[in-house]
Amino acid sequence: MIKLNNRDYECQDGITVEELMKLNNFTYARIIVYLNGEVVLPENYASTTIHHGDDVKAIHLMAGG
């Protein structure tokens, strides 16, 4: 279990950021990912793993429309 955008979220231990984004259909081009408060850059999505208890935020940057 991790926290994803402040909600409980069940996923495999060791899943990568890239996999998590895919699972959630987070396709928007401007998303900022934070892992335990630290920004994860897009080039590191595939190599960054997430473990139980982690706090992940995927902030979609669109406040406009």
Binding site: N5, Y28, R30, I59, H60, L61, M62, A63, G64, G65
Partner: protein, 717 residues
């Protein structure tokens, strides 16, 4: 009618001379009043109080409109005005998106002040001609053109034959007529509307400007709320402005060096990052069509659903291929975000211009979603052509789309049938019927005339004439305050329900777009968090319309280091840019907090203006249930897993062995209650009573305790 005929029949009925005057720190210090009924033309001084409290743009529009009307004035009374103003920053060329015009009038749809913004050159040219705002009042007997000659310092009212002409022809003809030569065409700006504005309540105002590269005119629209309908009701055919040219320092800013510096930094950011962010230069706002579909937010079949299996057929990639590329498509000089795209050499398949090849402005996201998925139409050429006809006929695309979606649902529910629609089979996806409807609006005929009244009036009509169930119509009729909703599905975001409902002019997303922040990011979980967002964003975004900025360069591009800031959603660096640009032009020294207060003054003024006109209270802030949750079983069952889960999580209600109707009832009660709680929290945050009236204390705190406002408060608290 061709231009030669118009030219021959033109009759000068009034000419007025004025002194040309340089702009000082973003203001001319003077506005222009034209009464097309009495032919009175006046200059008015802009006092310090007006500048301090109302800033410019929409603030000026609301101020002058308030002086012009009484509580009993209606949209088609001669006293109603159309006021156009850009704002103190409007017309600079250093920072992207600095040429917007704001238009204010009493709306035929809402009976309250409407504001709508448009790109193009009109607002800046008005200022370069010597005026911070233009008030149009009265009603002419015969059609007139008003010509403001900012080169010579003359204003003329000319009588022209009573005949409607569509904008793509008329705008071009007037540009030709008033320009001295080809080179001079860029110095002409025109506002006018098309043939449908007279027959419907959703007429828009087209802003025609000359595109030097295309060697043809382009259009931008002040679309919302029927401003074009008011324009034609006044028998104004067009307002034309001519200037001597555009220079970078026309506004005489106090600090040009700072302006240049911030501008260059912003242009570089757009150049370096737009391709990997929103691709605004490639496709404009249509970039989000498939994104909205993937997040279940793309209005489909009158907002029943948020996604459709055929969306790929109208995805941004499809439109990218149709839109002319590598063109600096700015709607004002210096806008490097250049989102004002166009599809050139498009051959029309229907209507009076069938077979002609035209340039079509757009598509913007709203058009593709409204004229596309919301009508069940997944044919990109049909969307482009509907878009073209909306523009040239002078119809607000958003209202046209939402109204057509509404009648399609009424048709599919048996409220309408072929007999009632005069033979139109208005089922979702029927392209032919949608075209016939739009052409009928242009001709002022048939069922098109009924639809052109707007959803609010249609609901009354269908109940009275066809015995339709008023509750069902009010659930599915996507209007509020009389204005049709814009094209986002807010069902799963309570904050966006407030972003639509708790607005001044009606459900247009230009005050707040909070769906991702709320529904996906879960950044504003409590009522207080949502209320804070519904305070900050509407106030921040109101400010664009006070000073002359376009909102897109604020958040459709972000600096590379934005992700490391405390509040990335606000794009703090851009907020600071705006503060610095405003100060550099005007010589003021506001900070980001004063920016919000400037907006709050005008925002509260507009709210009280609504209340003065008999609207603008809590009861008027309610929204149709279609915006909040599933109205029909079909909707519930299409997202059953989601709704069932919510019943368990939010209410501890076990959905097992319950009928869909039972579950829908429980969900509905819950969601209605949530909206009421949100309304309480927002009113509290904005300093209003629980009936939605700004308090005297709030006005005092803002320095907005003007006697005429306090009088309205006293009457309503």
């Amino acid at each position: 009618m061709n231009m030669e005929k118009i030219n021959l029949a033109r009759k000068l009925i009034k000419e007025y001379h004025y002194d040309l005057k340089a702009i000082d720190k973003g203001y001319t210090g003077r506005t222009l009043y034209v009464n097309v009924g009495s032919h009175d033309i006046k200059e008015k001084s802009v006092t310090q109080l007006i500048k301090d409290k109302f800033i410019g743009g929409k603030g000026f529009g609301l101020y002058y409109l308030w002086q012009a009307v009484t509580e009993s004035t209606r949209w088609n009374d001669p006293e109603n005005e159309i006021v156009i103003s850009s704002g103190p920053v409007g017309g600079i060329t250093q920072y992207p998106g600095s040429g917007k015009s704001l238009v204010v009038t009493l709306s035929p749809l809402t009976d309250m002040p409407m504001d709508s913004n448009a790109g193009g050159y009109f607002g800046p040219y008005l200022k370069f001609s010597g005026f911070d705002a233009l008030e149009l009042q009265g009603k002419a007997d015969k059609d007139v053109i008003i010509f403001i000659n900012g080169v010579k310092g003359t204003i003329s009212i000319e009588e022209v034959p009573n005949e409607d002409i569509d904008t793509h022809i008329f705008g071009e003809q007037l540009t030709e007529l008033y320009a001295d030569n080809e080179e001079d065409k860029r110095n002409i700006a025109v506002i006018s509307t098309g043939t449908a504005a007279r027959h419907t309540n959703i007429g828009l105002l087209n802003f025609t400007f000359y595109d030097v590269r295309r060697k043809g005119t382009r259009l931008k629209q002040a679309g919302r709320g029927g401003i074009g309908t008011v324009f034609r009701d006044k028998h104004i055919k067009a307002v034309v402005i001519k200037v001597a040219g555009v220079k970078g320092n026309e506004n005489h800013p106090v600090d040009k060096l700072t302006l240049n510096k911030i501008g260059i930094k912003m242009h570089k950011e757009i150049h370096d990052l737009d391709n990997s962010q929103n691709r605004m230069r490639q496709i404009g706002t249509a970039n989000i069509i498939e994104v909205m579909d993937q997040y279940d937010l793309l209005p489909t079949h009158n907002y029943k659903f948020g996604a459709h299996k055929d969306t790929y057929k109208i995805s941004s990639r499809v439109f990218t291929a149709k839109v002319t590329q590598n063109s600096p498509d700015g709607c004002w000089f210096g806008c490097s975000l250049a989102c004002a795209k166009a599809a050139d050499h498009f051959e029309l398949k229907t209507g009076p211009y069938k077979g002609e090849k035209v340039s079509i402005d757009g598509p913007e996201y709203e058009n593709a979603a409204g004229l596309g998925s919301n009508l069940g139409i997944f044919d990109p050429d049909a969307i482009l052509e509907l878009n073209f006809y909306c523009d040239t006929y002078g119809l607000d695309t958003i209202s046209f789309a939402t109204m057509t979606a509404f009648v399609m649902e009424c048709y599919e529910n048996g409220i309408l049938n072929k007999e009632r629609t005069g033979g139109l089979e208005l089922t979702f996806g029927n392209i032919e019927a949608a075209f016939e409807l739009i052409h009928q609006m242009s001709r002022g005929e048939g069922f098109g005339k009924i639809v052109g009244m707007g959803i609010r009036k249609m609901k009354e009509y269908f109940v009275k004439e066809y015995g339709a169930d008023p509750k069902f119509l009010s659930d599915i009729g996507m209007e509020q305050k009389g204005l049709e909703f814009s094209e986002y599905l807010p069902k799963e975001s309570l904050a966006q329900q407030g972003g639509y409902g708790l607005t001044n002019k009606g459900p247009q997303h230009d005050e707040a777009w909070l769906i991702f922040m709320d529904m996906v990011n879960n950044q504003i979980p409590t009522f207080e968090d949502k209320a804070e967002a519904l305070h900050y964003y509407p106030m921040f975004r109101t400010w664009f319309g006070l000073v002359g900025f376009c909102k897109l360069p604020w958040n459709d591009i972000a600096p590379a280091n934005n992700k490391f800031t405390d509040e990335p959603a606000k794009i703090p660096e851009h907020v600071q840019n705006y503060v610095d640009v405003y100060n550099a032009v005007t010589g003021m020294s506001i900070d980001k907090h004063e920016l919000i207060r400037q907006s709050e003054r005008v925002y509260n003024f507009q709210r009280l203006f609504n209340i003065r006109m008999g609207y603008g209270k809590r009861i008027h802030d309610k929204i149709p249930y279609r915006a909040m949750g599933p109205v029909t079983m079909e909707e519930y069952e299409s997202r059953q897993e989601r709704y069932d889960r919510q019943l368990v999580e939010h209410l501890g209600y076990d959905p097992a062995n319950k009928t869909t109707e039972e579950k829908m009832k429980v969900l509905r009660e819950y969601r209605l209650d949530q909206y009421e709680k949100l309304t309480d929290a927002v009113y509290k945050r904005r300093g209003w009573t629980m009936d939605g009236v700004p308090t005297a204390e709030k006005l005092q705190e803002l320095g907005m305790d003007l006697p005429e406002l306090l009088e309205v408060v006293k009457k309503h608290v």
